[in-house]
Symmetry: C2
Subunit: 510 residues, 2 copies
């Protein structure tokens, strides 16, 4: 099973690093453990019936998008002004044209990802106005921060995707930001990425830049960019979002359809009700992509949160949304759609114990629920409002460990070590035995940030905490960063497009 043989000292360590690197540096993970299905058939049917009832009786408003309303009317929904109601089963029928699995292509084909099925893709966090680090505290994000986070993601083998609006580059006018953001992903990363959704035109610009990079025909036939669109929960789809959603679908690109339900505020305070609402809202958004272009790829999203009874503040990384995510995963699989789940959430304002307790619970829920595309895998602090450089590195480390977690256990004669017991026998250690020497290089995930040394050695090395080590590591990574090469002609084409576009608009800051 294993071709590695014992080598000594430095050579072994080098081989080991190369090997671990190869193990991590996959374009995406194919899970080897099942999903964690916690609800039974009867419960799932009741939730589906509740969602159907919400859709048929309460309905969903589609604001500022007459074309969306027109799609619904022609599809046979009951339209009353902006309010659309759906007969039970109607959306499920429409959703049958959506692919259960698709490839999002990267400019480096080795990094293309397969989204859906048993595949798992880790993507950085998305959307914070602020950034933080231990040296400078909290401040508004800039394009430099934005570019830094792309570099940190690109230089880690623990991610599979470059993400989208990793932080808001608030030093660039709002109406021009998307051009610089998409360019940064194209330039500094050779992994797949996401485009803008803040206006239909910005979505179209993002896609147009992909046409320059990948070729017009290729883009029409293949997914090369994702757009993450949010429901205005409860039960409202805003025109900005549906127009962007339709722009992506029209171009055969994948919209990611995500409710935003803080239980007790944008949805019921009870988990089952929030799940039913989430199902209703997401099915409607996903179905709209199919009315725009049947067969367009689309990702079924999930975003649940709880709130603090003491303060009324939103809470993240708590048990109820973790449990809710696992049920939403089951519901999504019954629709045969790829699933997005939110990853690493916390309300902590520091990369501390709270941050990783909440973050790990939240991230493991995404793993267990069967999410195919995990947005927000790394970086969030401050209730999604800040991207933290240190937290990004800590979360990247967790993402690394989840590669091994999702690999599960291989059960064969080598892994069962059937001959090792006879060799070693009772009371002896396995350190140097042939089986250990043949397998140790690939046996265990190795953290980049955890300190496993004995206390005295840790103390002698400066008694650092994990956040301090993360602080050193992101600086080292940025200093060492080398961008993947990009064809000069393509780069010029993109730069010209951006310059031209920017010239047509006055700066807008809102």
């Amino acid at each position: 099973m294993n071709e590695h043989r014992a080598r000594s000292g430095r050579q072994a360590r080098q081989a080991e690093r190369a090997n671990k690197g190869a193990k991590l540096g996959r374009p995406y993970i194919t899970r080897n453990i099942p999903t964690y299905d916690i609800a039974g058939e009867e419960g799932l049917l009741r939730i589906e019936a509740a969602a159907d009832r919400i859709l048929a009786e309460t309905g969903i408003e589609f604001r500022d998008d007459p074309i969306a309303i027109d799609h619904w009317r022609r599809a046979g929904a009951s339209v009353d002004g902006l309010l659309v109601r759906f007969e039970p089963g109607m959306l499920r029928e429409i959703l049958k044209t959506a692919p259960s699995e698709f490839t999002q292509h990267a400019r480096n084909p080795a990094n293309s990802v397969r989204i859906g099925g048993k595949n798992v893709v880790f993507s950085p966090a998305y959307g914070s106005p602020f950034v933080m680090d231990l040296d400078r505290g909290r401040r508004f994000g800039t394009i430099e921060d934005f570019r830094n986070f792309i570099k940190l993601a690109q230089s880690s083998p623990n991610f599979h995707h470059s993400g989208g609006t990793i932080c808001e580059p608030t030093d660039i006018p709002v109406n021009k930001r998307h051009l610089d953001m998409v360019m940064a992903h194209m330039e500094l990363s050779d992994r797949p990425f996401m485009g803008s959704v803040t206006a239909e035109e910005r979505s179209e610009d993002s896609i147009e830049m992909c046409r320059i990079l990948f070729g017009r025909d290729f883009v029409d036939q293949n997914c090369v960019i994702l757009g993450n669109v949010n429901v205005n929960s409860p039960l409202v789809w805003d025109g900005t979002m549906t127009r962007s959603l339709r722009a992506y679908a029209r171009a055969n690109q994948a919209a990611v359809i995500v409710p935003f339900i803080l239980g007790g505020a944008m949805g019921p305070v009870t988990n089952a009700g929030a799940i039913a609402q989430s199902l209703a809202e997401t099915m409607a958004g996903c179905a709209l992509t199919q009315l725009e272009r049947p067969g367009a790829p689309v990702i079924f999203g999930n975003f649940l949160s709880s709130m603090s009874l003491r303060s009324g503040s939103p809470t993240f990384g708590t048990p109820e949304p973790a449990i809710g995510s696992m049920i939403i995963g089951q519901l999504c699989r019954r629709l045969n759609l790829p699933l997005r789940c939110s990853g690493n959430f916390t309300t902590s304002k520091l990369p501390d114990a709270q941050a990783m307790m909440e973050g790990t619970m939240s991230m493991l829920a995404a793993i267990h629920c069967g999410a195919n595309f995990i947005l927000h895998s790394a970086g969030f602090l401050d209730g999604l409002l800040s991207m933290s450089y240190e937290k990004f590195m800590l979360d990247a480390d967790l993402c690394g460990s989840l590669h091994s977690y999702l690999d599960g256990v291989v059960i064969d004669d080598n892994q069962l070590a059937v001959d090792a017991f006879a060799e070693v026998g009772p009371g002896n250690h396995f350190f140097g035995c042939a089986h250990t020497m043949a397998n140790y290089e690939t046996a265990f995930w190795d953290s980049e940030l955890s300190d496993n040394e004995p206390f005295e050695k840790w103390e002698a090395a400066g008694s650092t905490d994990a956040a301090t080590r993360a602080n050193s590591l992101w600086k080292k990574r940025l200093a060492e960063f080398q961008a993947p090469s990009l064809d000069a002609g393509l780069r010029d084409g993109l730069t010209d497009f951006i310059a031209e576009k920017k010239q047509t608009m006055e700066d807008a800051w809102y």
Copy 2:
């Protein structure tokens, strides 16, 4: 479904606190989510066959305990000096007399726990020589520390058990420690607890003290104390442990049978092999309890760890043991025995991000694998060598959240909020709606330590990290502690027994 009605302001908040307290203050948890079964039938059969082969071909040594050897000989095992080999199926047959579920009684009957089935019991960490806090750093544990941790556990609704050797009280002679430890559990806690196992006589003293507290006949018929015994992995059972194991079984008390497998050292470096070894070692220990006294309660234990490829140090809270635990849970259920799993493990030397990343992954594995008795639920840092006051409080908070996690989701008309959507309608918030008012008090778990406030409010309150808040909380809890009352006659009986015992021995410090 829910009898709570809207109340205003202070009254509502008081009711809410009482209610959450009641929700947490259960004697134990009965899980409402399934176990996470990641291995298929074929894989389980292969692991069982590998364990059978280890038992039949390599065998297990039983050192310094002729009675154990004698038990095996009479049971039909193949005995060759100290080495015992077992025909496939023999141990499974012996284990059929062990109960699948039993009650461990507490001196306060309301706190008795049911161990086995769908029940989950959280118990503090066990066995550290050192203690730590943010003020004084690391030092050897004392009886004062020991008593402090009992107080902290007893005053938290998030635990169900008082634990055992929470830390080593190194200021008490080794041969007398057990008396003061058991007394402290009896005096400062009214929950179930664990006794000594470091010598047969000390096990018997622990049980004898229970006879004073609970009555001799009661103890003969009911489990009131647990003893945690370790395999001397690989494949050696030491006489100290088997004599203690037999002392507990003989008295109809429950031994907890636990291997100690650091992959690559005390077992194979590959997960499947370590799991097979664990199964073999634990089955043998559990079966020995049944040879001593058929029908005695016994708990099937699990302890896996990985090691760092860089340093050779043991690592904890890593993905491989988490995955391994889930498979061991499946194997244990096929034996129909109650399961112990290790809880919250980390190698971090501080209550930092690393500590809770590793701790949360490790603790969730215990939850998912179906463990009925989770030892080490709270307190460990430093690779199990130190009990940290702050980490204890952070872990207690995680234990609280896991009550809600294990409750899963209730799916009924109230929880589905079927009428709330009609009431609220698209685009409106759920803050004040009737359904929210009727349900918010019980909707979400509320952390004692997490800061969910907006950044500015957190900053104004001193920009604390979670460890600092935990530091304040443990001091507050100790200051406010009130011991549960203990009958004076019983107390005197116990004190007399201890004094008498101590008089018969010279102090021994090893």
